[in-house]
């Protein structure tokens, strides 16, 4: 923070002096500028050149119009907002937008409170070895890729899998989980929780262990029980972390869960599971509707951008903490 202020002060100097100082610094420290070259190159290739590719959404893009796909962008004809009009008037857009919002809101609704409770309960466990054991175990699924999580649940939820065996034993009918439109979103929410709860719980646990221990001691002297301590000290103490996490989740409501859905879904559940990015992938890469899906992709990027920047502004205002 102090460093940033120093910098601010130097900015107030007249332009000429500043430029002279800049040049002097650059001449003295060429290595510093060489160091940023590799990183900038990566950003250029993977982030900034693709920005030029956004033009695809405003053109009737023909991938073979030029020497290579990038060159073809320039050679393709402008069509203005044609693809956006087509997109917004079509039925698919509303469907995938709705699915994206429903799936990601349900995830927040069902999963969000659980890691907070887990962290508080983990903190209540007094035997250190046992606490560490539980931590280690609930943290493992976070390391599994979505493909592995998919494989595990494919095995558990198969028609002859252990979950269906259990359903039959309890007197229910078998469910074909992966093709049933009624339960499919439930699977997405559940597996998301299975993969992420342990990790998020440990994030909160780190926040709890950062709290001032004397507060707890003082409360105990005043005769406050565990529940009162949790309610009056722990929860308010980690509230900033909770709010920050919630803001982040809402900020990513449009661009979350792509790999998961891509792996779990199939054509029988498109109606309830197809989200913006899976749709972009199928239409764009699969069916080569490049311009149409680039338009949807751009819509997605812009709204996601607004949401994230907005979320950060809220976080800065309320918590005085930036997400990044």
């Amino acid at each position: 923070m102090t460093k940033a202020k120093k910098k601010d002060a130097s900015l107030k100097a007249p332009l000429k002096t500043r430029l002279r100082q800049d040049l002097k610094y650059i001449r003295r420290h060429p290595a510093m500028y060489l160091m940023v070259v590799p990183g900038l190159t990566v950003l250029l290739i993977h982030k900034f050149i693709p920005y030029y590719g956004i033009l695809i959404a405003f053109k009737d893009y023909n991938i073979f119009a030029g020497k290579n796909p990038l060159d073809a962008i320039g050679a393709s004809e402008w069509v203005g907002t044609y693809w956006f009009e087509k997109l917004f008037s079509g039925r698919d857009f509303m469907k995938v937008l709705k699915n994206t919002l429903i799936i990601n809101f349900s995830k927040i609704l069902w999963i969000f409170p659980i890691p907070i409770l887990c962290a508080i309960m983990l903190n209540e466990i007094e035997r250190k070895t046992y606490k560490r054991l539980v931590q280690t175990v609930i943290y493992v699924p976070h390391f599994f890729s979505w493909v592995i999580v998919y494989g595990i649940f494919l095995s558990l939820l198969a028609t002859s899998g252990v979950v269906n065996e259990l359903l039959i034993a309890l007197g229910f009918n078998k469910i074909n989980f992966f093709t049933n439109t009624e339960v499919f979103r439930g699977i997405l929410v559940f597996t998301e929780g299975w993969k992420s709860i342990g990790h998020t719980a440990i994030v909160y646990l780190a926040a709890i262990t950062g709290l001032d221990m004397e507060l707890f001691d003082a409360a105990r002297v005043d005769g406050a029980g565990r529940l009162k301590q949790i309610w009056h000290i722990t929860l308010p103490g980690i509230l900033p972390s909770i709010v920050l996490m919630l803001i982040l989740k809402v900020g990513h409501i449009l661009d979350h869960g792509f790999e998961q859905v891509l792996l779990f879904y199939n054509s029988t559940v498109y109606e309830v599971a197809d989200i913006i990015q899976t749709y972009v992938y199928r239409q764009g890469i699969g069916r080569m509707e490049f311009s149409y899906s680039a338009a949807l992709g751009l819509f997605n990027s812009v709204v996601a951008f607004i949401l994230i920047v907005g979320a950060n502004a809220i976080s800065k205002k309320t918590l005085h903490r930036s997400i990044w």
């Binding site: 460093k3 910098k7 800049d22 290595a31 510093m32 500028y33 160091m35 590799p38 990183g39 900038l40 990566v42 950003l43 290739i45 993977h46 982030k47 900034f48 050149i49 693709p50 590719g53 290579n68 796909p69 508080i120 903190n123 054991l133 539980v134 175990v137 609930i138 493992v140 390391f143 599994f144 890729s145 493909v147 592995i148 998919y150 494989g151 595990i152 494919l154 558990l156 198969a158 342990g198 994030v203 780190a206 221990m213 105990r220 029980g225 565990r226 301590q229 891509l262 972009v280 764009g284 890469i285 490049f290 680039a294 992709g297 990027s301 996601a304 951008f305 903490r321 997400i323 990044w324």
Partner: protein, 299 residues
């Protein structure tokens, strides 16, 4: 996590307190089991006999020990080749990522560095605004990255999140040591390699782990940019095996005359993909927990 039990010590006093503690033990044990048992079940299935799998009589321990299916999946499918690809991509990727990240983070951490604000802004833009799947695909296709390791490495080469972690850690180092090295005539590069990096070892270790997990677990890049079977990574391999499990099962039958239920075959493939992670998990877990603490402190 050491000495992190910050609560009151001594036994719980009231009835209510006892109940809270008991519930915590109970619920957290259930949570642990919910995470552990699915994995145990799948691994057990991989080692169970065909009859047991078909009849659904496998729970959390192998029933009727056999390893034929596992051997078949290990040796006769693309598993070893996919494993090799994933290992290569992860190792090359982590080394390149760390070099790029450290080099980029150092100037950004120096308050005197001219251009710091502009570069930081560029990083922020890159982080929050994506060109989108189709444009990125076109760039990779134009540059000839399709069906090369490059397509698997470049998307994860520089994580802005990791860059900020490293930058913040560099910023936190005491200025004095760097200053005295500079007075002794060390150049910027020397200061970075001989002073700054050795002093930031724990953070660098953590960040390499974060990168390694990214590379190892990435599925979509391989699915999007790679069509050559020889270059498939372990994640794509597992997805493909589960998709064509009937064909794999048939092949096993025609080769060995043994029938293994497709569920058992899927379990074998999952088990083989999980094993490398479980094997390195004890070694990396410490760094990952550190990563969380660093992540929550930054900002």
């Amino acid at each position: 996590m050491k000495n992190h039990s910050r609560r009151s010590s001594g036994p719980p006093r009231g009835k209510q307190d006892k109940l809270v503690t008991a519930c915590s033990y109970l619920i957290m044990t259930v949570m642990g089991l919910l995470c552990l048992l699915p994995c145990l079940h799948v691994v057990s299935k991989a080692f169970s006999s065909n009859t047991a799998v078909t009849l659904g009589e496998v729970y959390f321990w192998p029933n009727g020990w056999q390893t034929d299916a596992l051997k078949y999946v290990l040796l006769q499918t693309d598993y070893l080749n996919a494993l090799k690809n994933s290992v290569i991509v992860t190792i090359i990727g982590v080394v390149c990522s760390m070099v790029i990240t450290v080099l980029f983070a150092y100037p950004l951490s120096e308050p005197q560095f001219r251009g710091r604000r502009l570069l930081t802004l560029l990083c922020m833009v890159a982080m929050v605004f994506s060109g989108g799947m189709v444009p990125t695909y076109m760039v990779f296709r134009s540059l000839g990255f399709l069906n090369t390791y490059k397509a698997l490495i470049i998307p994860h080469l520089l994580s802005i999140f990791n860059l900020l972690i490293v930058r913040n850690s560099f910023e936190g180092l005491p200025d004095g040591v760097k200053e005295s090295a500079r007075i002794d005539g060390a150049g910027d590069f020397q200061v970075l390699t001989t002073i700054v990096c050795p002093m930031s070892k724990p953070v660098l270790a953590t960040v390499s782990m974060l990168y390694a997990v990214n590379y190892w677990n990435s599925y979509f890049d391989a699915a999007l940019y790679i069509t050559n079977d020889k270059l498939k990574t372990i994640q794509v391999y597992l997805k493909n095996v589960t998709a064509d499990i009937n064909a794999v099962s048939e092949a096993l039958k025609s080769m060995t005359g043994k029938t293994i239920h497709t569920d058992g075959m899927i379990a074998c493939a999952v088990t083989l993909t999980v094993i490398p992670i479980i094997m390195v998990y004890p070694f990396v877990q410490r760094y990952m927990v550190q990563g969380i603490t660093i992540g929550s402190e930054k900002g």
